[in-house]
């Protein structure tokens, strides 16, 4: 419907009436007409054009939102295609390219959607439509199909966080109500993530999609399907390797923990995966990994803990020795966690030898005094946990150090002897001291 068409429609007196003003029998038809009206798209990039018409559409949309929220009996079968058509017209569009090629989602301000005054109301309307008591998925599924979902998913790349927030709710409701679309949605999200991790490292809606996945994972039936386990290992774990992890890490960690609460036997592959992808050059990421690991340990079963404690604490031992004080601090803070402490206590004979050398060394060598103070707390805890082992390790450490010192001293003396020999030889032959 072109702009000229819209003006004609405006001039029709019946359309200027509110839905609540007409008798109930006429409401469904008026509803359809107003929906059709809202299919007209206005250009918001030009801020001065069509101000009156834009306002009119906005108020119509507002009216539709209210109407859908409270009225009864408005949802005829004819309404469904019109609703979907109106929503599609308004929201499905090619997203504008990013302002600069180097748009850094962590640093730069996002470009907000200019047509938000209308767009927001369309989303609002659609959500209430989906949530309406009158809504029947069996009718709607003819119009909300795979093609619709695919286009919806593409919109998640919008730079506007408000739009992504609405899309999140929309997709969540669709997933909940359309059982037939669920597998398709999961597969498409899968594709998006894989493309993101292995091809582009660009997609703005990862956090929102993960949030939806969180609510899906939370609802998994037991025993877990193989498909879901594959998703965890092949998609969620590799997601940790992406440079922009900080934008969606909270949601990702939540998904991981939910998986482990559903099926604790997944703990070992998950932790081994994290250890394999442990950040080597980015300290900020290391701190995130440590946070996630602590969340996992908070819910870990003791039998699972025993399986991964060795590689786990070898990594923690490295973190504790990190010259980056935030990494060391975060790792040391594990010892303030009561549950983790209880696990360590039960297995101190394995864990203490792994941690001991780094702890002792950094107590003497670390540049940061706050770290040294935290190390004292950890060593004290170990001392009280297992005095005999601690004393043994201290004695071994001391004798090793003494042996090293002696070696160094011997080496220095050897060099000194050689130097003296050289000098003597030089003097004997011609009396001139060689330079």
């Amino acid at each position: 419907m072109g702009l000229a068409g819209a003006v004609c429609v405006l001039q029709e007196p019946s359309l200027r009436m509110c839905l609540t003003d007409v008798p109930a029998s006429e409401q469904p038809e008026l509803f359809l007409k107003k929906l059709q009206q809202c299919c007209t798209i206005f250009d918001f990039m030009d801020t001065l054009s069509d101000l009156k018409m834009k306002e009119y559409k906005r108020s119509t949309l507002n009216e539709l939102v209210d109407y859908v929220t409270v009225s009864r009996g408005y949802l005829t079968e004819q309404a469904y295609p019109e609703v979907v058509k109106m929503v599609s017209h308004n929201i499905f569009r090619t997203l504008p390219p990013s302002d600069s090629n180097e748009f850094d989602p962590e640093e730069d301000e996002p470009t907000l959607e200019a047509s938000w005054p209308h767009l927001q109301l369309v989303y609002e309307f659609f959500i209430r439509f989906l949530e309406s008591q009158e809504f029947q998925p069996s009718i709607a599924k003819k119009y909300i199909d795979q093609k619709f979902v695919l286009q919806l998913l593409e919109l998640f790349d919008s730079e506007d966080p408000r739009e992504r927030d609405y899309l999140k709710t929309v997709l969540h409701r669709i997933y909940g109500k359309f059982l037939g679309l669920r597998a398709f949605i999961r597969k498409q999200i899968n594709n998006i993530f894989l493309r993101f991790v292995y091809e582009t490292e660009h997609f703005n809606g990862v956090a929102e999609l993960l949030e939806i996945l969180g609510s899906i994972i939370n609802g998994f039936a037991l025993p877990l399907k193989a498909e879901h386990k594959q998703f965890l290992v092949k998609v969620l774990i590799p997601l940790h390797t992406v440079r922009s992890l900080s934008l969606f890490h909270a949601q990702l960690a939540y998904c991981i923990v939910q998986f482990l609460e559903k099926d604790p036997t997944l703990t070992e592959p998950v932790i081994r995966g994290l250890l394999k992808f442990w950040p080597k050059t980015c300290s900020q990421k290391e701190v995130m990994f440590l946070g996630e690991l602590e969340e996992i340990l908070d819910v870990i079963e003791p039998t699972q803990f025993v399986k991964i404690q060795e590689p786990l604490f070898k990594q923690i031992s490295r973190c504790v020795s990190s010259p980056h004080f935030q990494v060391a601090e975060r790792a040391l803070y594990y010892w303030n966690n009561e549950y983790i402490m209880s696990l360590i206590e039960e297995n101190s004979s394995v864990i203490l030898p792994i941690m001991f050398t780094s702890l002792y060394r950094i107590s003497k060598e670390h540049w940061n005094p706050a770290i040294v103070a935290l190390v004292y707390n950890v060593l004290k805890a170990f001392m009280e946990m297992n005095s005999t082992l601690f004393d043994e390790l201290t004695a071994t450490y001391k004798s090793d150090r003494q042996r090293e010192k002696k070696k160094e001293k011997d080496r220095e003396e050897l060099w000194k002897k050689l130097q003296d020999l050289e000098l003597k030889r030089g003097l004997r032959s011609d009396g001139i001291i060689p330079t």
């Binding site: 059982l179 899968n190 609510s215 899906i216 609802g219 386990k229 909270a250 701190v287 975060r330 707390n377």
Partner: protein, 342 residues
């Protein structure tokens, strides 16, 4: 035979040294009535109890270990502490300051100056509330009350002497006692105030006898008895302390760990870390969507059939490429090509 003769000379000198120390050990004993008063005190805000003294000595051991001080420093510090507590009634809130003063004083005697930890660092790591000036004042008070001179005769003195005597008598060098192990055991005993009532010579001899019995050396047993006779230690007294030592050592070696019974340690982290600690644990906004067993049956998607047929095994090697029909073909092809290139 000349080496035998010099050996005998050494043995003779050592025995003499032993006797001299034995004569003077009584001057360094804490007052028994004072110790008993502490032992009999139960929960009281105004008096030191055995429990809080023991906890504080464990703290001293932690600090000794942390700063790399010797066992000698620790034993001397405990000796000073017990002697002071046995003669002065102090409030529990001052115990930290007193004990740290004793540690610092002992370290100044025993350790090399370059290895001395400065007092502000001692206070910081010990998580104490008083100042460097407070510590200095307390040191003066303790030194004055104890007529402190650097030589104190402790159980460690006797342990070292006994060890040297055993070495000097051993003919074949096959059996030697591990001195470090004995020192660790002594440390464990000193963490209980009851052992401060024992004469150092007897406490050390008890530890020696327990270890000799453990390794079952008849030669060493003979020498130990010789020492006991030389110092005129009564059988009954030795037996009493040996029993107590045995009990203590079995607790020390037991696999059950002890939970700290005193104040919780302070965990001070930087502001940034503190902010990040729990702030990002998200509270889910979206309600859970339960998975139903009927999910797949209504779907028109063809991939459903492939997945519902049998369980796929979870590959535990994460290096393996994307496999299985769940993953898009072009990703699989890409990985395959990469494989060919390497």
């Amino acid at each position: 035979s000349s080496s035998r003769a010099s050996c005998n000379m050494d043995a003779f000198k050592l025995m003499k040294e032993l006797r001299v120390n034995h004569e003077h050990e009584v001057y360094y004993l804490p007052k028994e009535t004072g110790l008993m008063l502490i032992e009999s005190t139960t929960r009281d805000d105004n008096r030191i109890s055995a429990k809080c003294r023991n906890a504080k000595v464990e703290d001293l051991w932690s600090l000794t270990s942390f700063f790399g001080y010797s066992t000698q420093t620790f034993v001397l510090a405990v000796n000073l502490l017990d002697r002071f507590l046995a003669m002065m009634r102090i409030q529990p809130k001052h115990l930290s300051c007193v004990s740290l003063s004793c540690l610092h004083m002992a370290a100044k005697v025993t350790e090399e100056e370059c290895n001395l930890t400065p007092t502000d660092e001692l206070i910081r790591i010990g998580q104490c509330r008083f100042t460097v000036a407070d510590l200095g004042r307390m040191e003066k008070i303790v030194a004055e009350k104890l007529n402190f001179n650097s030589k104190a005769i402790t159980a460690l003195t006797f342990l070292h002497l006994y060890h040297q005597i055993l070495l000097s008598h051993s003919t074949d060098r096959k059996e030697t006692l591990n001195l470090e192990k004995l020192e660790a055991q002594l440390k464990a005993c000193l963490c209980r105030i009851s052992f401060s009532k024992a004469k150092p010579s007897i406490l050390a001899l008890s530890l020696l006898r327990q270890e000799i019995e453990a390794i079952q050396s008849e030669d060493m047993l003979e020498i130990a008895c010789h020492i006991q006779r030389h110092l005129k230690i009564a059988d009954g007294e030795l037996l009493l302390w040996r029993e107590r030592v045995a009990q203590c050592l079995s607790d020390y070696a037991s696999p059950e760990c002890s939970k700290p019974n005193h104040r919780k340690l302070q965990w001070i982290v930087s502001r940034r870390t503190a902010q990040n600690l729990h702030s990002y644990r998200i509270v889910p906004e979206l309600p859970t969507i339960p998975e139903g067993c009927w999910d797949e049956s209504e779907s028109e998607d063809s991939c459903e059939d492939v997945m519902s047929s049998g369980e796929e095994s979870l590959s535990s090697s994460l290096g393996s490429d994307a496999e299985g029909p769940f993953f898009p073909l072009h990703i699989r092809r890409q990985k395959h090509c990469q494989h060919l290139l390497t």
